[in-house]
Symmetry: C2
Subunit: 424 residues, 2 copies
């Protein structure tokens, strides 16, 4: 019966069998220390003589649990027997137990299968798993249905550019940029409240720490709401649930990054400013004349949020019509019922009320110079009775990045795809 490292404090004095990876070997002549890693943590093993094990090999160890103030975590296992389950070749391209901050990101990603063994790097994805859990849990508690829609479509709803083409039998289809069309269809079908967690694709030639070409989109769509304020309210509850979940379940992972998880109680205080107000605030904070909100402006707004509300975040709503997709509900003065959420200097959410009236949608397609031909499926959603609704999408990797304070979104992606990277 295997004991996990996390269970050792309850077994002092007992004989246990551990299994895991050899993290580090230190031979002091008469005594050898081996650090063993499993999915719950690591522990020092003490051997009377240097054991026949090598770094990164997978071993099974039996021994006795003992308290030792000098051991990391105050506990160690006096090993009696060790058996190698799978021996690691000794030409590792880099030492897994080094500080990953010393490796360039490109090397980490080139050797992703091995670099993920570094406990700090792996901890990113335990936090990501918690985000996935809390997002779904929060929405289910509010009556949302989880949906799974096709990632292959005939044409895009975001304008048609930036799509990857797929050779599909004798025809060509595209990878979806978002489940927009489908989540709107399902709201109108009667589910009213839906969410989807799935991949989304952008064939854009970005090369920045905030862009990847394949990401996981946390999509929400909700009917019978009054305004975009309802959507910001919902996102506030989701964020609070996620922060609480990470605080409760990922202390070890958060500590590995010395990250500060926002207080869930601060989420309802996230400022909500109009796009016009946001430009003014950025102007005041940076001392520059502001025409549009640049990445520098996004950072300034989040710093302003920290100063005024105690959380590095800001909702910006009422974006100009021409900067939002055609399905966005227009408001007065060429504004829209739209919003973004900026968090720690980065846009992590885009959302809006949608047009739910068929005639208005046709007019807007015209205003955007888009052709309604070939959009019959999409238009049928609105032709036959569609409730007022809206929604938003959170970028999973961006949220993970910012929660842990990582420099690049690629660090928060298990196997990132960018313009040049298609492996591993």
């Amino acid at each position: 019966m295997r004991t996990l490292v996390s269970e050792l404090p309850g077994k002092v004095g007992s004989a246990v069998t551990l299994a895991g990876w050899v993290h580090r070997i230190r031979d002091l002549g008469g005594v050898s220390f081996v650090v063993l890693r499993d999915r719950t943590g690591s522990v020092q093993l003490v051997f009377d003589a240097r054991p026949d094990v090598t770094p990164e090999s997978v071993v099974r160890v039996t021994g006795t649990v003992a308290l030792n103030d000098k051991a990391p975590g105050g506990i160690e296992v006096r090993a009696r027997r060790v058996e190698t389950l799978s021996a690691a070749a000794q030409d590792l391209p880099f030492p897994v137990n080094q500080d990953p901050a010393k490796m360039p990101l490109e090397a980490i990603l080139d050797h992703r299968m091995l670099s993920l063994r570094a406990p700090a790097l792996l901890s990113i994805f335990r936090v990501q798993s918690t985000i996935l859990r809390c997002f779904a849990h929060c929405l289910r508690a509010e009556g949302f249905t989880e949906i799974k829609t096709s990632k292959l479509i005939g044409t895009g709803t975001e304008g048609g550019t930036g799509l990857f083409a797929v050779e599909y039998f004798d025809t060509r289809v595209f990878l979806t940029q978002s489940p927009q069309i489908y989540k709107q269809a399902l709201v109108a079908s009667g589910l009213e409240r839906v969410f989807e967690i799935g991949p989304a694709y952008r064939a854009e030639k970005h090369d920045t720490p905030r862009h990847i070409n394949e990401f996981t989109s946390l999509d929400v769509e909700m009917a019978f709401i009054e305004s975009e304020q309802d959507l910001m309210d919902l996102e506030t509850r989701i964020l609070a649930a996620i922060f609480q979940g990470i605080r409760d379940g990922n202390q070890r992972d958060v500590d590995a990054w010395k990250a500060a998880i926002p207080d869930p109680a601060s989420c309802p205080r996230i400022p909500r400013v109009t796009h016009d107000e946001a430009r003014e605030i950025v102007g005041k904070e940076t001392g520059h004349k502001v025409y549009e909100i640049t990445p520098e402006g996004e950072r300034a707004l989040c710093e302003w949020g920290m100063k005024t509300a105690g959380i590095e975040a800001c909702f910006v709503h009422g974006y100009p019509r021409k900067s939002r997709p055609f399905y966005t509900l227009p408001a007065e003065n060429n504004r829209t019922h739209s919003f973004d959420l900026l968090f720690r200097g980065l846009e992590i959410t885009s959302g809006s009320m949608r047009i739910n009236r068929y005639e208005m949608l046709l007019d807007n397609l015209k205003a955007f110079d888009l052709n309604p031909d070939g959009m019959a499926d999409y238009l049928s959603i609105f032709r036959y009775g569609c409730p007022p609704h809206g929604g938003f999408a959170i970028g999973l990797e961006r949220l993970t990045q910012k929660v842990l304070g990582l420099a690049s979104v690629k660090e928060a992606t298990l196997f990132p795809r960018d313009r040049k990277r298609t492996r591993p």
Copy 2:
């Protein structure tokens, strides 16, 4: 403040505001009955005169809740005021309130945006949402981490045929058939126990009620197990959790299909037979000489499971080596440590122990006439210490289909993709 149909029994005598879709209108001269549908159910509205509403329009209604034995569900709302929020065009291609069993599947799928309004069709996807929830919940409770891996790869691990090609900037990549390579990498990275819910693609020219070209794969991979029996044990617990979840939360949806959800307590009794024993059983049950297990044989095995264990399911393990992928752990006599789960006549799971030793994997690649060049990323998982492990994948749509007793897997797919269908 909107009241949901499901909340009406607690509000008899009160004034309420409802919102939803006009399901049916019956005008009896002095009095009109309108059935209103929302996400929680439907209710009869009573009007003194025919209201100005049309089928499928979205309306808001105020009225008083009253008991009435003659009303469906024993409750009705005496309407005082009705307002159309979104009027439906009156050229619906078919009546949404008809029995969907009267429509051919192709018509249902051609008009998917509208046909989903039929309550029975929508109920399929509420059950599917429950399956997603219970699958994740069960695994998280056992220490599994949820992962999200790339769906774009340079080459396939399942043999290289049957892949859809994607035009990716200046190169070509493929849509993954499964996250096999990645879930093995993450087990070996130290997460030990991982699951992923994501799309998977098979570029195969099938045209059957059991095949689609894009499906949702419920993937599991688990380290430090002794044998494939551990995997069947785990799947048994997952199935029991799913059946319990549907029984607890989807009675209305199950009733719509007059489906029988298996007793969760029967799951541990699912028979486990070797491939050789399975062929014998099929031979006895069908009276035919059996060389391999055909779809007819799969049905016979499930009927035999019902007779012997009270559940229409059967685990078959020990498949011949040549019928399983190269990464499957070989057993004696050219058998493998593999298994399938058959449920109600259909294979819904394929799983196995995997080869975790580098040299054995190289040998097996040779035996399968596969080229290890270009598999360096995959091979590095095993070269540097990989624990014994195994896993399996459940097809979400197939499980949904069989749970509800649907004739085709396409009925259990929101927007199915097959050889000819790429829309809506």
